[in-house]
């Protein structure tokens, strides 16, 4: 199967401390790939490198055949949730997504509303995001990640703040996306999420990536 992400021995040093240490891995298309590790182990930094937010000190990253930082600045056709999703607090959920969608104009109002419905949010809700619960913000974060129908999803702790039903919905939804051929890279602290969802699992510890399951 084709690799959607190819990471070739990347290292990352910030303020003289090694964050990533010669990480190499290939992620295949159409699977859910799990990334586990303690806080500060380098999971988020690896995801940011894949997205193109940070240029690794050494090594190369290819997403869908394009080298990040050379062929493109940021990984294309990628939906992301990195850290806690942030939105403009005085706009409604729909208006926030509309602002983001207008950057590329790939989609219109119906696709935005559809994405919101899929994650269990009411697109007609006029309430400001400021008044959303943490779970609702997380759902809105997922809606912004999926609304443009990207091939790759990079999700850092997407279950944060979700209640039991929310987690179950989210799992069902992510498995459904996999069935439709999407690739998902997910970082989570929950062993159950990783167990239920992931085809492959890697562990990050002090910047070193170890393959655990499904390789």
């Amino acid at each position: 199967m084709k690799n959607i992400i190819e990471i070739k021995s990347i290292s990352l040093v910030i303020n003289k401390s090694g964050i990533l240490n010669s990480v190499s891995i290939n992620y295949e298309c159409g699977k859910i790939h799990g990334l586990i590790g303690r806080n500060g182990s380098g999971k988020t930094m690896l995801m940011k490198c894949i997205c193109g937010f940070i240029k690794p000190t050494k090594g190369e990253i290819f997403v869908d055949g394009k080298q990040i930082g050379k062929d493109c600045d940021f990984s294309e056709s990628t939906g992301i949730i990195i850290e806690t999703p942030g939105f403009i607090p005085y706009y409604s959920g729909y208006k926030n997504l509309k602002l983001l969608a207008d950057l590329n104009r790939k989609i219109g109002a119906s696709e935005i509303k559809n994405a919101m419905i899929q994650v269990g949010l009411d697109p007609n809700l006029k309430r400001h995001v400021k008044k959303y619960s943490l779970g609702m913000r997380q759902r809105l974060g997922l809606a912004q990640a999926i609304m443009e129908n990207p091939d790759l999803l990079i999700l850092d702790e997407p279950m944060n703040g979700l209640d039991k039903d929310g987690v179950a919905d989210m799992r069902k939804y992510l498995l459904n996306l996999k069935e439709h051929g999407k690739t998902i890279l997910i970082a989570s602290h929950s062993a159950e999420d990783i167990d239920v969802l992931c085809d492959t699992v890697c562990e990050m510890d002090k910047g070193i990536l170890t393959k655990l399951k499904g390789w």
């Binding site: 937010f53 992301i80 999703p85 942030g86 983001l100 950057l103 590329n104």
Partner: protein
């Protein structure tokens, strides 16, 4: 996706501008307006009432941007308001992943223009509008500015009479002084945002803010003592009164040299920003700090 898009840059600027306007630190701008009102506008209005003679519409604005006492305040408050520029919060990641770095830089430039214009327009409106019923629009200096010291010699050295000096009213018309002050201060603010952007793309944002604060402080200090070193700093180029002597027609520094000074540095910084943005780390606010 890699093509530069003005539309995307415009949207980025809009998002950034909205976040900036609703930022709680904007309260400082209101405090500054009250401060400016007390130290520049109100004293001029008092003189005007005392002389029973109207002010020129632009005189309070010119006083605010050319007073040696206030020259430190305007850029410092602007630096405070814009100190997290370019702002990188959790929402920014959603924006950045949909664009390319050149769009982002262009968007930040547009935002810096909007923010500088907003800040300066607020000063203009708040200094000129409250006194509008007691002003005239003709392009001449008021008797309050030019003759107060003669009518009231005992008060000729009061603070209010030093706000607009002979270097201004003997050399240049009030409309020109207001226009040039506006343009120069605008360019000064764009220069400040450019420097902030440069230090961000070099991943040394905190050090950058300290350096800019020093540039503002030393520029103002050298401007106040009129040292020739002041021309190395943007502050002196901003203050129209420093370009002239009290009586001689020949300016100390030609206005268009100052414009070239600003445009040259801004263009140079733009090039540096475009070069170094390739290596910028887009970390969140906490990580940057």
């Amino acid at each position: 996706m890699n093509k530069l898009s003005l539309r995307r840059a415009w949207r980025i600027a809009y998002i950034e501008y909205y976040k900036w306007i609703v930022n709680p630190r904007m309260c400082v701008a209101f405090s500054m307006i009250i401060f400016v009102w007390n130290f520049a506008v109100s004293p001029l209005m008092l003189l005007s009432r005392e002389m029973e003679s109207p002010l020129n519409f632009f005189e309070p604005f010119i006083a605010v941007l050319n007073s040696k006492t206030l020259c430190l305040i305007t850029p410092s408050v602007y630096l405070f308001l814009i100190s997290d520029y370019p702002r990188l919060d959790q929402n920014s990641f959603f924006v950045i992943c949909r664009i390319n770095k050149f769009d982002w830089i262009l968007g930040q430039y547009l935002f810096s223009i909007f923010s500088a214009l907003t800040f300066l327009s607020s000063i203009l409106l708040c200094s000129c509008i409250p006194n509008i019923t007691n002003t005239f629009m003709a392009n001449g200096w008021s008797l309050v500015v030019t003759r107060y010291g003669i009518y009231f010699p005992q008060d000729s050295n009061s603070f209010a009479t030093t706000l607009i000096t002979k270097e201004l009213y003997n050399q240049i018309s009030p409309n020109n002084a207001a226009f040039i002050s506006f343009v120069m201060t605008f360019l000064y603010m764009i220069l400040i945002t450019n420097l902030l952007l440069l230090f961000f793309v070099l991943n040394v944002k905190k050090i950058g803010i300290s350096i800019i604060a020093l540039v503002i402080a030393f520029g103002s200090a050298f401007g106040i003592i009129k040292s020739s070193i002041m021309w190395f700093f943007p502050m002196a180029h901003t203050m129209v009164s420093l370009h002239y002597t009290e009586y001689f027609n020949e300016p100390i520094m030609k206005i268009h040299y100052s414009v070239l000074y600003f445009l040259g540095i801004i263009f140079f910084l733009l090039i540096l920003n475009l070069i170094f943005v390739k290596h910028t780390k887009f970390l969140s606010i906490n990580e940057n700090e």
